[in-house]
Symmetry: C3
Subunit: 357 residues, 3 copies
Amino acid sequence: MSKQRSGNFFEDFHLGQRFAHATPRTLGLADQSLYIALTGSRACLHSADTTAQALGFARRPIEDLLVFNTAFGKTVPDISLNAVANLGYAELRFLEPVFDGDTLGVESEVIGLKENANRRSGVVYVRSSARNQHGREVLGWVRWVMVHKRDAAAACGEPVLPSLAAHVAPDALALQVFGEQVASAPRVTGCSDQYEDYAVGERIDHPAAMTLNDSDHSLATRLYQNTAKAHFDAATMARSPMQRRLVYGGHVMSICKALAYDGFENLLSILAIHGGRHVAPTFAGDTLRCATQVVECLDFEGAPVGALRLRMVGAKNVEATEQIRFTAPSEPPDPHTVLDLDLTVALPKKRIHRQHP
Amino acid sequence: MSKQRSGNFFEDFHLGQRFAHATPRTLGLADQSLYIALTGSRACLHSADTTAQALGFARRPIEDLLVFNTAFGKTVPDISLNAVANLGYAELRFLEPVFDGDTLGVESEVIGLKENANRRSGVVYVRSSARNQHGREVLGWVRWVMVHKRDAAAACGEPVLPSLAAHVAPDALALQVFGEQVASAPRVTGCSDQYEDYAVGERIDHPAAMTLNDSDHSLATRLYQNTAKAHFDAATMARSPMQRRLVYGGHVMSICKALAYDGFENLLSILAIHGGRHVAPTFAGDTLRCATQVVECLDFEGAPVGALRLRMVGAKNVEATEQIRFTAPSEPPDPHTVLDLDLTVALPKKRIHRQHP
Amino acid sequence: MSKQRSGNFFEDFHLGQRFAHATPRTLGLADQSLYIALTGSRACLHSADTTAQALGFARRPIEDLLVFNTAFGKTVPDISLNAVANLGYAELRFLEPVFDGDTLGVESEVIGLKENANRRSGVVYVRSSARNQHGREVLGWVRWVMVHKRDAAAACGEPVLPSLAAHVAPDALALQVFGEQVASAPRVTGCSDQYEDYAVGERIDHPAAMTLNDSDHSLATRLYQNTAKAHFDAATMARSPMQRRLVYGGHVMSICKALAYDGFENLLSILAIHGGRHVAPTFAGDTLRCATQVVECLDFEGAPVGALRLRMVGAKNVEATEQIRFTAPSEPPDPHTVLDLDLTVALPKKRIHRQHP
């Protein structure tokens, strides 16, 4: 009859295991306002109903990373309560907008397992999916996470590594969310830079900086009902190598996206996250800056939006954004870098090229 | 014509005195989202409309302690602005759910008065009641509080102590709020522990911990429009024996209830608080943990819910929840304990026993 | 194709230049709840729908300074991103109530320019206007701000100083917002002090105090989507004479108004701000207090409200509100003073005098 909940350890997972994560969460305008207060987001589509309507939506959708962080938070009690570290993301896709009053339910399936050589932990791969109250998938993603074993001696099966796409395929991006009315975005933002104005290789140094506070990041992480101890329990963290509470990586992503508003004013939303690493921990008192490089431009024929694949790098405690370094995969990461994200975003096009009949 | 508001002192109260506290407050989904961000609550009934509907409610009700803390806050300017300490609670009952858009108005009546021997303060007993916009009582409670005298020489009447119930009678619990649909809670929470799975004497050590920040607790206390100076005025507190801002006791209660989710996943709501003591002050930087003991199981024949009477103990700065001590009434309180609460909660039953006709 | 946004410098402004500031913002009950949590506001009209209805409104309007701070925030990226200091306000008028779901769009026009003698900066005067989704002006104001030059050698035109009113004319106050039902305010607040109970020269020492936290003020400032670096970038501020993040002056105004509830319980809303100075910077850890002096009583014949012109002085780190000094214009400001605001507020009248026919 024990009710001492200790979460799942590595040996508790098995391939094909499915979780219906507790407990569904209705998102609404209250969460969107809190998200603005927590991150400083100015994303046009999510700031005003009039803007959302001008862009072809019935009303303001809930912002992409608020949806992601909420859905991610749901998976923590089952998947990563005993995690050593969150190692990576793949195949993340935003599939449908979420509106005020929509309820997210999140499920996960174990798609890979690999015990570490030291037998004290292992890597769990899960594919997760958030559905709204109509059963429609609004967000899907894969993550892998290193999880402690309860008992190093416990027997674990042979390693199974999932086959993961290096990036979300262009034809899997949910472009159909956007109609031709998105062309009016520059009238709202006052900025003329649209899809065609970005070039592969271009780097944008976002000018603003944001210093994090313990209360901010713990408010955000509680809003997402994420229960990972590292973000909340300063006493236990004081006895860890970190020495203090760790800022939830999803909050760092949200801050970086908000900083990137200046330079991507007409960005409509994130379509996909192909991969991402929390390169180093972030703590209260750290000041974040963000720079972005355009990696690929995808001009979907006939579509009102184009997609930009971006490398977004967040760094802490650099004096100027220009000091952020984009290291090559062969290089060691820059010691200031905290986030290295590979994502694709939607921007309105100036001209919609159509195939000749 | 003086408008230097100084609040009521002990000699300003008289038996039977009634207060219609300023100013009514409409609660809504915004407050519920903020409450989640402030406390980390994951209570299933309050997290999603779909869940609330599955459990037989039209939509998410506002969480019990958010209602209590809001109603309590309303009484502060009239009752406890000049309080030395809040001494106790009794006969607290949640009577009706509060929904998005409902407005609470709060009234109190002085039901007891006892000057202290030193004549510098006295204890005021008040019975308070929160009603919604339809005039229906949603919450009632008694509290007693030690209040400074303005003038030690002021004459005060004979002591009158109210007759208070040692606990809320079982037949006074508002079980009718819950219908048979609550039986579906385990399908949402993924946890099978229901009323029948808890046994008298069982102790549950809730695994999580929460470090408090000054901004968190002052945001919460302002949300409740509670004006007690001890929570906000660090300069005055620096000159007091406390030396710093005191965390509002109702925030400590909310944090403990949120921590208790793990082990009481199917808890529907608090029905009553029979008594409670803020054993020691809590400050920003303290890390809270919570353990609960089952004191009594009340199986209401024919009802879809059972009631568990619990002793919930919150402690600060213990290394593990297992270190929390449940002291006997004859013992001095453990120096780590901050909250010792005697409450009754509702859980769905596995089987509804009905009387034979 | 550069997208390194650096904001406007003094030489980028020209007389008559117009800005449609990005991006419109829908305000709602979520923002109002957050505002209560951030400031401790208890203003009766904004706390409950039942109160708003009793006072003749369809529902709770959004609080005046929440509207102002949101509208002000919109102007920052275009006007004051490179500001040295915000120097003053004039002619601020609240013209129409803003309700849940209303969207504010903000425009500004440059009405004055004056380069400083040192040629490194200049003063920009802008008239700004916030309109709702129906195109109706809800708020208008003038501010002037000292802005850096990008290039000290850049040629600037002749100085042009706008002609500004010393105060908003009484007949320009939007009294028509209030109907006779406002007379019921004392029934809600429990306080009988109405327009007629205030006298010119009367001083009110508001008893409460509020200590600011870094998280509070940065949450508030982000909620307003205000991007001024001084409030967010602790690393850059550490290298400035301020040494730390500066609290946004609009947050100080909001805190002072909330503190002034005790003594102005029946205050309905701010009608106008004639002028105001942020006399000294405020930082996290400072404790604010507020005192108010009645400067003028305007009894509009036949109107259900009277207007009080007030001098509201906010001070930091004084032991008691009574220590706040109201210095004369010829005196140097008291070193504790942070805010000196000249505003007019509406209060219900006890008796509506009507002209004899």
